[in-house]
């Protein structure tokens, strides 16, 4: 029924387009709400600098769409689905926000996407990890742009197993994201002929990992897999290095690492760690050129999330310009119909489940000798083609996919 209604609305809207494109843009403003953790654990990977990236995209676009002005509002979600939900309700119900973008904690994204679906507005999620966002939690009103846990496990775990890391011991953050990542990793390790011989679930957050590292050492596994994020991961890596994990022949596999994490660790501590990333600032002239501009604005190099926010904002504004509409379904369809070719992705595609699929990269952290400056941190070992990276639609549980 709703689908029918949406079709009818857009049909009627198209009929009215004779009156000029602007007639379709509500209250004659494109209003974007930027929602992210601005002050907590996940601040640096998106946060205030993500807002900067969005503003850069709007400025590059010319600050307006066919004469309609673009307005940005922003809020701190404090990693709380409740706090995020009340903000987004206010935005869409009272302030006419057309697009909600940013979003890091997976729980926040899932809560927000439900509100967007109820109100038929659009959301572009750039910071979250959980692959369930476009699987069981998919809606026709959001897009998941940069990465998710599926390629993280696929890229890193399969590479490490192929290099001989057959037995794994998992250190897993004891909440939904950690469990999901552990499950994805276990699947990949077993599919490649390896085995997970033990795991420990640590509280979130944990400062002292020495006890868990000791247990992982005692297990005798080839690989210690870290299914956690942010400060938990950096603390675990620091402690592993202190306790001589790599010297004793064990390998560390960090499943989710952002450039800001590696920068905090430094090449000395993080060297040799393999990771999967959706983008890296120093891949080619295009990425470097944009990163230099970003650094001028912010003083730091961009993470894949920052680049994704820029790219997705551009993609959105292009779609609004092309359709002359800010209606969520019209714009989403246009975004799905247009391949993404920019500094962030080549031939990226937004699927019907909302997943943006693009090439991912297997990277290794450089040694201090190889690293020329504090941000010169990754060597790209392999490009993982889009179709190999993400969960295929044939395995999807999304209600929008006919399986």
């Amino acid at each position: 029924m709703t689908m029918m209604k949406k079709l009818l609305t857009s049909a009627v809207a198209s009929a009215l387009m004779v009156g000029g494109a602007q007639a379709e843009i509500s209250d004659n403003t494109i209003k974007i709400g930027y929602l992210a953790d601005m002050s907590g654990t996940y601040r640096d990977l998106a946060g205030p600098n993500g807002l900067k990236a969005m503003e850069m995209a709007i400025a590059d676009f010319g600050g307006q769409v066919n004469g309609t002005k673009i307005e940005v509002v922003s809020a701190d979600d404090r990693n709380s689905p409740d706090s995020a939900s009340s903000t987004v309700r206010r935005w869409v119900e009272n302030e006419n926000v057309d697009l909600v973008a940013g979003m890091v904690a997976s729980s926040v994204s899932i809560a927000v996407s439900k509100i967007l679906e109820e109100n038929d507005r659009l959301g572009i999620i750039s910071g979250s990890a959980a692959s369930s966002i476009t699987n069981e939690h998919c809606t026709p009103n959001h897009i998941h742009y940069v990465y998710d846990t599926y390629p993280l496990a696929n890229g890193t775990a399969s590479a490490v197993v192929k290099e001989g890391g057959k037995t794994w011991y998992m250190l897993t953050a004891d909440y939904a994201f950690g469990h999901a990542l552990e499950a994805d990793v276990t699947r990949v390790v077993e599919a490649n002929g390896g085995e997970v011989i033990g795991s420990v679930r640590h509280p979130f957050p944990t400062q002292d990992f020495s006890s868990f590292i000791l247990q992982a050492q005692a297990s005798g596994a080839d690989v210690i897999g870290l299914a956690n994020a942010g400060a938990d991961t950096t603390n675990a890596i620091t402690t592993a290095s202190e306790f001589g994990v790599t010297q004793s022949g064990q390998t560390l596999a960090a499943l989710l690492l952002f450039l800001t994490d590696v920068h905090a660790l430094g090449a000395e501590t993080a060297q040799g760690i393999q990771l999967t990333t959706g983008w890296y600032w120093d891949m080619n002239d295009e990425t470097r050129e944009w990163s230099d501009r970003f650094m001028e604005e912010t003083g730091v190099r961009p993470t894949m999330v920052h680049a994704g926010i820029y790219s997705s904002t551009m993609q959105y504004l292009n779609a609004v310009a092309a359709t002359g509409s800010d209606d969520a379904q019209t714009v989403r369809q246009q975004m799905m119909d247009t391949p993404i070719n920019d500094m962030f992705a080549k031939n990226g595609k937004i699927r019907v489940d909302g997943r943006m699929v693009h090439d991912m990269y297997l990277a290794e952290v450089k040694t201090p000798e190889e690293s020329k400056n504090e941000w010169d941190l990754y060597k790209i070992l392999r490009t993982i083609p889009a179709e190999e990276s993400y969960r295929p639609l044939s395995e999807s549980k999304c209600k929008l996919v006919n399986n």
Binding site: T206, S211, T238, L265
Partner: protein, 295 residues
Amino acid sequence: MSMIFGVPLAVLSGQLLIGIINGAFYALLSLGLAVIFGLLKIINFAHGAMYMLGAMTTVLMFDYMGVNYWVALFLAPLVVGVFGVVIEYFLLRRIAGQDHIYSLLLTFGVALIIQGVLINWFGVSGLRYTMPDMFKGGVNLGFMFMPYYRAWVIVAALLVCFGTWFVIEKTKLGSYLRAGTEDSQLMQGFGINVPLLISLTYGFGVALAAFAGVLAAPIYSVTPVMGSSTLIVVFAVVVIGGMGSIGGAIITGILMGVIEGLTKTFYPPASSAVIFLVMVLVLMFRPSGLFGKEA
């Protein structure tokens, strides 16, 4: 290999040792809180922030002035201690004699402001601090690999804890301190500058936190938020030991480190809750704490 409840003895010994190391941290932090509460009756919610400032100061002094670890070990607590004296003089003194809740709210506010400002400057990913060369590596004890630095943490923390206990409980200076807070007018009459004594005590208490911060800098992520989660655990330790009991804070700190370490071995998901569980039990059966004087 002999086993205890399905855990090899070697692994268990390692976990006990790790527990003692973490306990030494707790002891150092709860000691500062106990000194401040025991002598000044201030519930210092800024203690976590002071611990964080100790670590941040260590990193920043190294980055901008090349101050090495050993100098930082003295200088960072001094800098943070002076900052504490300033807070005491300009803020805490104004609410002296009021209900505890005032000092709690004031110090909590101060902590949030410090944390917020530093997040704006440095972000939350953490600052890099390289371990001093002489502490790199470690020794194989047979049952575990013991990094040299962790051994140093035990030694340094216990020395400082014992020294503090000794000064407060066994020396003349300590007796002035205790007397000054017991009956400040009488002590003023004896010609002792009680307000100064109070400022210095607060400064010393937060300097202890900063010292723990310096010890933490090479092994934990140094971030503006590192103190906030630690603070709550340390408060629980102080409550278990008995608010204001100096010796109680030290012994309970180490004990809780060990209990937490064992929980991490036998049932890791409960390891962040076990200290609070002990706190609840202690409050039920011995409300003034294990080492507190009965009210």
